[in-house]
Structure formats: C-alpha cells, structure tokens
Symmetry: C2
Subunit: 136 residues, 2 copies
C-alpha cells in the first residue's frame, strides 16, 4: 500500500511541508507531477491529515509547558470537560487515558502564577498530578 517512496515523501514533508512539488520530486527521484499525484493520493487515503506549522511557544509568551494527570472528582466528567472549554488558550491537548488517571492534559502558560491560578480552578473539578516540562 505504501511503498518506500511514499515513506520518503512523508519523511520529507514532515521536515518541511512547504517544499514545492518540484523540490520534493528531486529529493525522491520523481518529477513534479508524479510526486504531486502521490501526495494527493496520500491525502485522499487519509494518511496525510493536514499541513501545519511548528511554533516557538516561548516567543508567543508561553514559558511554562506542563502535563497534568487528571483524576476527576465525580464519576461523570462533564464539569471538568466544560471547564477545559473555558481555558482553550492554555490547552494543547486533552488525552483520554487508561492507566494512572482519567485524562492526561497537555497545556501551556505564560507564567507559574497563571499556572497556579489554573490549578486552583481545576481543583474544583478534579484532582491532579503536575509534571512541568524541563526540556526536549
């Protein structure tokens, strides 16, 4: 289904999704139209779900990056989930997990003070364990 050339294409586009089809073609030894057809096929099949950018969060004012393991207080999660909707600017992703907790929340904050405020509000809906990202 996916051959070696397709994997090379995905690799190159992961590194730089703004390559022109001509440049991408040169990297994988195909012409522009040939590689363009393959990319369209990968999109149609749903292998490529979209094209995005990598942002430097610190340059956007987000200096704190954290993972928070969530243990909701009640058995139904709605209060927690609707709380999240009020905090969209700080949420990167909310993973539903099996294991140590109900959710794993990835989030970002301008400062520890703002993180602290967030945690106080979060604590009305859920218990948590905080992990702050130091590197990599």
């Amino acid at each position: 289904m996916l051959d070696h050339t397709d994997m090379r294409i995905l690799e190159e586009l992961s590194n730089n999704s703004r390559l022109s089809m001509k440049e991408l073609g040169a990297k994988v030894h195909l012409t522009g139209p040939a590689v363009s057809a393959r990319v369209m096929k990968l999109e149609d099949e749903g292998v490529i779900e979209g094209y995005s950018i990598k942002l430097n969060q610190a340059k956007l004012g987000y200096f704190v990056h954290a993972f928070i393991t969530i243990i909701t207080k009640s058995t139904h999660h709605a209060p927690y989930l609707s709380f999240l909707k009020t905090q969209e600017g700080n949420i990167v992703r909310n993973y539903k997990i099996s294991g140590d907790g109900c959710y794993l929340l990835e989030c970002k904050f301008p400062s520890n003070e703002i993180l602290n405020t967030f945690l106080e509000e979060l604590n009305e809906h859920a218990n948590y364990k905080l992990s702050i990202v130091i590197g990599k």
Copy 2:
C-alpha cells in the same frame, strides 16, 4: 512585536501550512507579497520554527499510543537515553520533567504485543508507569 494580523497568519498556517501566499493574503486582507514578507519575518524571528504534516498513525500501522512516566533506576540517565536511541521508530517525544518521574515518554506501537516487548526491555533501565491513550 506581533500584531493581530501576525496572529491571524499563524492561526491560518496552523490550520493549513500549504496555503498559497495569495490565499493566505486573502484571508488576512493583504496582498500576496505583503503576507509573504510577514511570513518571512516570522520565520527569521524564530516564531515559526518549521512546516510539518499531521499523519494518521493508525494508517501507518501504529495502533497503540502511550505515555510512559519514567523513573530511572540509577541516578545517571545514560543507559535509559541510549536505550531510547535504539527505539527511534516508536518514540514520538521524550520530555524531561519535574514532578512525578524523570521523563515523560510519548510513544507509539503497532500492537500491545510490541508494546509489551518494549516495556520488558525498558524495565532493564527504568521503572515506569504506563498510560495508554484512548481518545482525543
């Protein structure tokens, strides 16, 4: 430093980084050359770190997505880190964290069997807590 138009540009490129400068310009009410100059500025400043794609991991054969909290056995982490290098295909990211553990490892596997093999090898270097992603 970053005005409202820059934020709009980052937003649009996050949704689709392969927009032509002309299309992007139309969305933020600028001409192609004008928006192109702004994007180049955002790149030069390091706000935009790169352009990438979103891949459907299941379609690539990775059906299991997990976060593993790592507690290294010894005080020096080299054995664990060099073990990771041997497992690159399955590793998404390894975050150094402060909190519950030394690292938070995001990884993907074709099956629970392969995850199990991974965990047995991991356990030679570190203790761990496993969280398997169920959704979102």
